[in-house]
């Protein structure tokens, strides 16, 4: 059994439009359903709050791994670490990759998540462990969820 998931979707929009929806942190947050604190930067941590109804107590934290213009956007995160009861150092750290390909109809987007067998490195653990108490401050700022 592979420790990897892959899914794809055809989008009727040009690659540059899809790229923007992925790599602009505000646009990303709109469809992903998270309110993110700041822009995505390779090598840096981005944090925010999940805005998905019922999960607003969860934090969103990821380390941006790659931004290859209009081709590949990748970040790593600990899927379980947004639950502050869990210790990130025992949770898997997965790599999420969005690959874009221009097609005659627009864009083919392939997303893969891999690495469920891997524990995070110490550097990553710190990124995922810090700042779990942000929830209380964010609680007042949770944006109303907007239907797309």
């Amino acid at each position: 059994m592979q420790d990897r998931i892959e899914r794809s979707i055809e989008i009727n929009a040009p690659v540059e439009r899809v790229w923007r929806a992925l790599t602009d942190h505000q646009e990303f947050g709109e469809w992903f359903r998270a309110k993110l604190d700041g822009p995505f930067k390779v090598g840096e941590v981005t944090r925010g709050q999940i805005t998905y109804p019922g999960y607003e107590h969860l934090e969103w934290v990821a380390v941006i791994e790659k931004m290859e213009h209009e081709r590949l956007f990748a970040f790593s995160w600990c899927p379980g670490a947004s639950d502050s009861d869990l210790d990130p150092s025992t949770e898997p750290q997965t790599l999420v990759e969005f690959k874009l390909e221009a097609t005659s109809a627009g864009t083919k987007l392939v997303i893969s998540e891999s690495g469920f067998s891997a524990l995070p490195s110490d550097r990553r653990v710190d990124a995922f462990r810090d700042n779990n108490k942000g929830w209380e401050e964010q609680a007042k700022n949770i944006a109303a969820y907007v239907e797309t």
Partner: protein, 112 residues
């Protein structure tokens, strides 16, 4: 999409996947997968590694909760424990569905 928390513990996942990420261990689990118990000698048959090698792999599988051993006279017999693999599969399926839903939201967002 959010990282919805599946009911099974994600903590056990890394050791299950790590254990299964080895071709020999995968083969051992497959051989035990039909519910029979097997001795080390039986499991090693046809595999190009020593009995000691098989024992080491079985230990990894045991630690991940994928196999169980029991004494049969002087021998140890092993059998597969199905729950961790089923849980891991269910977890992956759940995550895949979440991504499907997120991709649909992305598509709607971009195409509007």
């Amino acid at each position: 999409m959010s990282k919805l928390e599946p009911e099974q513990s994600v903590t056990d996942l890394t050791s299950v996947f790590a254990a299964l990420g080895d071709a020999i261990r995968l083969e051992l689990v497959t051989r035990l997968g039909r519910g029979q118990t097997r001795s080390i000698v039986q499991l090693a048959e046809g595999l190009e590694i020593t009995h000691q090698g098989v024992t080491k792999h079985l230990r990894v599988l045991e630690q991940a909760g994928l196999v169980m051993s029991e004494r049969s006279g002087r021998e140890k017999h092993y059998r597969c424990v199905p729950e961790p693999i089923n849980n891991a599969r269910t977890y992956l399926d759940t995550v895949a569905v979440q991504w499907d839903e997120a991709l649909v939201r992305l598509k709607s967002f971009v195409e509007r």
